[in-house]
């Protein structure tokens, strides 16, 4: 495979397909070195972003999502790109939950992207040709 490999999954954006998506990402990164914590983190990141598309991007069933993944063995990192053709939405500017608020006042949403932002090294978004394109890079440090 050399120092970098690339793979892609095109799949219907339904929460039922979650396992297939996280398994896909786990397979792609299997040549890298990471801790248990980091593996959990990348699976959660994948889940949050895919479930976001599955839950909110499309108004009806049948919408598609594509996840492209590539690894850089030298840097020990993975780059994931999530693409959907649903409603235009940039999750990076989504309001973060106020985690200092007492229980009653906390909104349930926003936790997912909050966690994603904290656990990736790079995160970028663009909207092109009717597609939401979200790209992230995570370097595994074994911590």
């Amino acid at each position: 495979m050399g120092s970098s490999g690339r793979d892609r999954l095109d799949i219907e954006a339904r929460v039922d397909n979650l396992d297939e998506v996280t398994d896909f990402v786990s397979d792609v990164i299997s040549c890298l070195k990471y801790s248990e914590n980091e593996l959990a983190q990348i699976r959660i990141i994948t889940e949050e972003l895919f479930v976001n598309i599955a839950s909110y991007a499309y108004s009806g069933p049948g919408g598609m999502a594509s996840i492209a993944a590539s690894v850089d063995e030298k840097e020990n990192s993975v780059e994931l790109t999530f693409v959907d053709s649903g409603i235009k939405y940039n999750p990076i500017f989504a309001k973060e939950p106020d985690i200092t608020l007492p229980l009653r006042q906390r909104k349930k949403g926003g936790l997912g992207i909050f966690f994603v932002k904290k656990k990736v090294d790079e995160l970028s978004y663009c909207y092109r040709n009717g597609n939401n394109i979200l790209t992230l890079r995570k370097i595994f440090r074994g911590a």
Partner: protein, 102 residues
């Protein structure tokens, strides 16, 4: 994949989680929990066999916590969590919302 075992000890609902609590499995867990709420005085979630929890799973625990609070009961107890689970609770601030037993 998530396996759950629920049992009552006095009036405490003990919930043993095994596997992964994610967006898929949390939907079922929330329903199962609600079915057991009647008459309980507390909830303990045993995470010894829990591999990870995502924000959907945290929301399920939040729902349980809100139920207890609304009924004047003590916080949900989260016990036997591994470092991965604890990391997630800490990062999201959830560690302060529940009774996280270290």
């Amino acid at each position: 994949m998530l396996n759950t075992t629920m049992r009552m000890e006095d009036e405490e609902l003990i919930v043993i989680l095994e596997g992964r609590l994610d967006a898929l499995s949390s939907q079922n867990l929330e329903k199962e929990l609600e079915a057991h709420f009647e008459g309980i005085k507390g909830i303990t979630i045993d995470c010894a066999a829990l591999e990870y929890i995502s924000s959907a799973g945290l929301r399920t625990i939040l729902a349980a916590e809100q139920y207890l609070e609304e009924n004047g009961l003590e916080d949900v107890k989260v016990i036997n969590a591994n470092s991965t689970i604890k990391d997630i609770f800490e990062e999201t601030g959830f560690i302060d919302l529940v009774n996280f037993v270290k």
